[in-house]
Symmetry: C2
Subunit: 208 residues, 2 copies
DNA sequence: GTGTTTCGAAACTCAAGCGTATCGAATACG
DNA sequence: CGTATTCGATACGCTTGAGTTTCGAAACAC
């Protein structure tokens, strides 16, 4: 830390409170350390503020001055993860399914995003506000997007007319998630045509 | 507790040690309480011996006299869950796939079994011995059985000749798991033809 | 310079939970 | 009966971590 990284947006109507300004660098370090540790230790109860402070090279005071407790910090940290859904080319449903499958694959292979899913699925009754926020920010938009894509496929005749959309969604998402979990997570991302193979497999079906 | 439930197998070569015998009822109560709490609190670190003792109506002494630590208790408790794989009728691959899908559905809806999966997937580096044992006792046999069934289908021509077995396994297992997680867990088990619909969906594929 | 606020570090209080030890009562054997 | 062991209950020492407080130093405004 040779240079000073303190600053404030200093809007005209916020006349810059007196005293030393809060370090933006410290804030980013705290968020990063939190996400790192969330990615390593899966349970939220294993995640300690002291470990976050140590990892971030920051005093606990600096954390508690910004967030009043662990859950508030987690809400802010996890909300920085929501990668935007990629735009769809919109040419063929198959191509768009592959685009989404690639996103699912990438997220499923990333430790941070994987833990968001674990938290959303496992800690619903222990951290309802946190899980609710994750659902609204990340999960629900993706569900809606995939459902809309599947319905588009039914409408255009590219998919079966009697398609069961909930089952088809479980097909796509569940296959990707389970594949990554069982067949080594890291290597799966490398083979770039995996998403393509999974989608074609689903479209064609298992039957002869 | 009006009657006495103490006993010992008392084989001829084990001459029944002196003193009050250990209570088989207490042992069962401990295992049951452990599985109940595992089914409620998903993380192993949230699971406390003291809560197990309280739930089982048992002193901590009675637990520590039988298991030296929490992990040993968990290994024994979880190993009582392994429901045997059902025999296959062996007539058609579709029927056998439905049999397995039903087993997967039932297990995925049961809180206890669901937590075994969570532990196996999430706590690999924290409890390697426990996870290893779960894998050998429960997961690996099922993986092998499903893989064998799929290969049989390829051999008999009921399934595509170019079937990618790992992807097909992720299809079946992932679809069931994900469906239960997203579309209400409890109700899914009720509709008895869900397994059938999922399998037929997979066999036919999504394409028109 | 003075005043105000934040900084990292360290100490603190408080609660939870592990694993152990001790207690009187209960249950077996002989 | 005496002896041995387990029973549930309780207390203990110990560690971990949450959240607070205090401290001297640093970073700003004036």
């Amino acid at each position: 830390m040779t240079t000073t990284d303190e600053f404030q947006a200093a809007g005209a109507q916020t006349p810059r409170p007196a005293g030393r300004p809060r370090s933006a660098r410290a804030e980013k370090a705290i968020i990063d350390a939190t996400l790192d540790l969330v990615g390593e230790s899966i349970g939220l109860s294993e995640l300690s503020i002291e470990a976050i402070a140590a990892r971030a090279g920051v005093g606990k005071t600096t954390i508690y001055r910004r967030w009043s407790n662990k859950e508030d910090l987690l809400v802010d940290a996890l909300s920085t993860l929501k990668t935007p859904l990629p735009p769809l080319a919109g040419v063929s449903v198959r191509d768009d399914l592959i685009v989404y499958a690639r996103v699912l694959l990438r997220d499923a292979c990333d430790a941070r995003n994987r833990c968001v899913m674990n938290i959303a699925m496992n800690e619903a009754e222990r951290h309802p506000r946190l899980v609710e926020r994750i659902h609204r920010a990340t999960i629900e938009p993706r569900r809606a997007a995939i459902a809309a894509l599947l319905r588009r496929g039914v409408a255009t005749g590219e998919l079966r007319a009697d398609l069961d959309v909930p089952i088809a969604m479980a097909n796509l998402v569940g296959t990707v998630m389970w594949y990554v979990r069982t067949e080594g997570g890291g290597e799966a991302a490398g083979s770039s045509d995996l998403a393509e193979r999974i989608v074609d497999h689903l479209l064609a079906g298992l039957g002869a």
